[in-house]
């Protein structure tokens, strides 16, 4: 896990958008406010947070669909925003995406083979001849657990889980190093969701691909992610190894998020424990609170929280893997519930 050059390293990313003026006359929506990320090869980074926290904007920047206002991104040691022409095209091949909705993300008038092979129309050198393309489509279908005979069927002939497999095969067609999965299983039924999660894990093992895994479902993230970053109003308020973040959260928001999520214990009972019920809802990102952004919903907020933005603070137990939370009063650096 500790490796010299990470596959993806993002530092101090800021991105704001101009929107219609709100009542207070503000029209700048800061979607990302100084975001740092690190992702190693073959690793999965879980990105969690509620709607509007900036997860998808971050994904768009990582995919270079949006240019950040500030900050740097390094992918395999290079800044992709500095690339042009052929180099840029070659870079784009290396980062692909799996979408949330397997119904909206597949063109209903294309067959599975057309859909999977479409990226090769842009990246022509990869699989140059029709014969090779046909063979490669068969391989990819097999890789994601579909049959060769499925190649000439249309999306409406597949179930939701099978469609998501087509989406995954299409992402794999360009042999990427990184796949951004934006809520890849949230549109699927539970029994099918497990199949797709297993497929993603299996592909990672076989191909060594890395994932940025965006999800609101904490139980899914806990299962798939090596590291987790928790976002709130454009900031990463906590990050660390999955076990550390889930078992010993530093930030009150992380603790609240974990405790709000309904859980199921192995004996079939609800794993509620002591639920922290947050009052209120996410403040508008147009007008974020001063100081700590979470203070308006935090039960332990003090005067200092309104005045001063908290810097990341780590657990002082000398472990190598950083586990940091942006809170002036991190949940007692002792285990929860002790």
């Amino acid at each position: 896990m500790s490796e010299p050059t990470p596959l993806l390293e993002v530092t101090g990313l800021r991105k704001s958008f101009r929107v219609a003026r709100n009542k207070a006359g503000r029209n700048r929506l800061t979607a990302l406010d100084g975001v740092d990320l690190r992702l190693g090869r073959g690793e999965t980074l879980g990105l969690v947070g509620e709607s509007g926290c900036g997860k998808s904007t971050l994904a768009r920047v990582v995919l270079m669909l949006d240019r950040p206002d500030e900050g740097t991104m390094r992918f395999d040691g290079v800044d992709p925003f500095a690339l042009k022409g052929r180099e840029l095209l070659a870079w784009r091949r290396r980062v692909q995406m799996v979408f949330q909705d397997p119904f909206a993300s597949l063109n209903a008038r294309m067959t599975a083979a057309d859909l999977i092979g479409e990226p090769w129309r842009t990246h022509r050198d990869l699989v140059p001849t029709p014969k090779q393309r046909e063979a490669r489509v068969r391989e990819l279908l097999d890789l994601v657990g579909l049959r060769a005979s499925d190649a000439h069927r249309y999306p409406n002939e597949f179930s939701g889980g099978q469609r998501q497999r087509i989406g995954i095969a299409r992402a794999l067609a360009l042999e990427p190093d990184l796949i951004v999965c934006d809520e890849p299983v949230s549109a699927l039924d539970l029994s099918v969701q497990a199949q797709v999660l297993n497929l993603l894990a299996d592909l990672q093992q076989r191909l060594g691909v890395s994932y940025v895994f965006i999800s609101h479902d904490l139980s899914v993230v806990r299962h798939v992610a090596d590291r987790v970053s928790v976002m709130y109003l454009g900031k990463i308020i906590e990050h660390g190894l999955t076990e550390d973040v889930f078992d010993r959260p530093l930030h009150p928001y992380t603790a609240a998020l974990m405790s709000a999520a309904p859980a199921l214990e192995p004996d079939g009972t609800a794993g509620t424990g002591d639920r922290i019920l947050l009052s209120g809802e996410l403040p508008s990102p147009l007008d974020p609170p001063s100081g700590c952004r979470f203070r308006t919903r935090c039960w332990q907020a003090a005067d200092r929280c309104a005045e001063e933005q908290p810097d990341p603070r780590g657990r002082g137990d000398g472990t190598l893997e950083p586990h940091e939370g942006r809170c002036h009063y991190p949940l007692s650096l002792t285990p929860m519930g002790a």
Binding site: S191, V192, H223, A260, G268, L277, L278
Partner: protein, 341 residues
């Protein structure tokens, strides 16, 4: 052989007296362009006041269709072809449209998943929330508005008097869901159906809404039917569960017992698919395949194609819902093989 669920000894607590809602042998057909299919097949369950029953299943299993048949809001392509729905002392399926509408609100009401679609976009919410009082109690506009403001306060909307003049799009998703719940409980119904009431919401808001439903249930002694696909929500909020698959009930009973010791392979498969119960780094024990199309439900057991226990008998004979305990039942020929040792 075990006795049928109907003859099984009743659980002592909370099961005395008439249930607030009793659904018996309900069947619903869907008339589609490619023929008629059975969307709900011989479904029975009952709920008492102050208790929550969950209808659990994946998309297309018939849980929403069951709920819509109960409240009489089925689309014209769907038709109730058998069974009864007893609430407020009558079989509502035998009532005419006008009589049925009189029950909507004081006896039966429903909260939908998509609050934005369920609210009228061109009317202030105070007016909409007052409507039940105007229609059922004949209150004046002013009186109804006061009632609406009171309801908004009860469901936790800040500054209700000022917000009563706002339109639905001016509220957040969580607040809209509160408005919908307010409208549903306005006339103190005996039975509240909630169709995926929190699916579109973030987890911290979801927790608030479920708590609100819980408080209202206790305060007003309502029977709640919670329609959901989320096992963890069922474990936390429901007393009893009805698990549906391809239009059929495959298992039913007290949540605690069913989840701790499932007696239908589908229930077992669902529970095993929950990521947090699985060991990290190991594949999840997934149920292979996907549910059958309603036009293609096999003649024997509905789950046979995906079932690890399936054998010849399952292809020929549809298993009946058979008691597996004092208050529970499963529709599987081999349910005793799943009994925990």
């Amino acid at each position: 052989m075990n006795p049928l669920p109907g003859t099984a000894t009743a659980e002592p607590e909370a099961r005395t007296g008439e249930p607030a809602l009793a659904v018996e042998h309900l069947s619903v057909d869907l008339h589609t362009a490619s023929g008629t299919v059975r969307a709900v097949d011989d479904v029975s369950f009952s709920v008492h006041k102050g208790r929550t029953l969950a209808l659990l299943g994946e998309s297309g299993c018939g849980k929403s269709m069951t709920a819509l048949s109960i409240v009489g809001l089925l689309e014209p392509v769907a038709e109730v072809v058998g069974g009864s729905v007893k609430a407020g002392g009558t079989d509502v399926l035998t009532l005419g449209r006008r009589a049925r509408r009189r029950l909507a609100g004081p006896v039966l009401s429903i909260v939908f998943q998509d609050a934005l679609a369920a609210l009228n976009p061109v009317q202030p919410v105070g007016r909409q929330l007052g409507e039940p009082f105007r229609i059922h109690h004949g209150l004046s506009r002013r009186e109804a508005k006061e009632k609406a403001i009171e309801l908004m306060r009860i469901v936790g909307i800040p500054e209700p008097r000022a917000r009563a003049r706002s339109y639905p799009h001016q509220f957040s998703g969580g607040m809209r869901q509160r408005l919908l719940i307010a409208m549903a409980v306005a006339l103190a119904p005996d039975v509240l159906l909630a169709d995926e009431p929190t699916t579109a919401l973030d987890v911290t808001v979801q927790a608030q809404i479920m708590q609100l439903l819980r408080d209202l249930r206790a305060e007003r002694d309502m029977a709640v039917v919670l329609i959901t696909h989320d096992l963890a929500v069922v474990a936390e909020h429901a007393d009893d569960v009805v698990i549906m698959y391809a239009g059929n009930v495959v298992e039913t009973g007290p949540v605690r017992e069913v989840f701790a010791d499932p007696r239908h392979p589908y229930t077992r498969g669902l529970l095993d698919s929950v990521p947090e119960r699985a060991e990290k780094g190991k594949p999840l024990p997934a149920v292979g395949g996907s549910p059958p199309e309603l036009s293609n439900v096999p003649p024997g057991c509905v789950f046979q194609a995906r079932c690890p226990l399936a054998r010849e008998r399952c292809a020929d004979e549809r298993p009946r819902l058979t008691a597996t305990g004092p208050a529970r039942a499963a529709a599987c020929h081999f349910s005793e093989e799943l009994a925990s040792v």
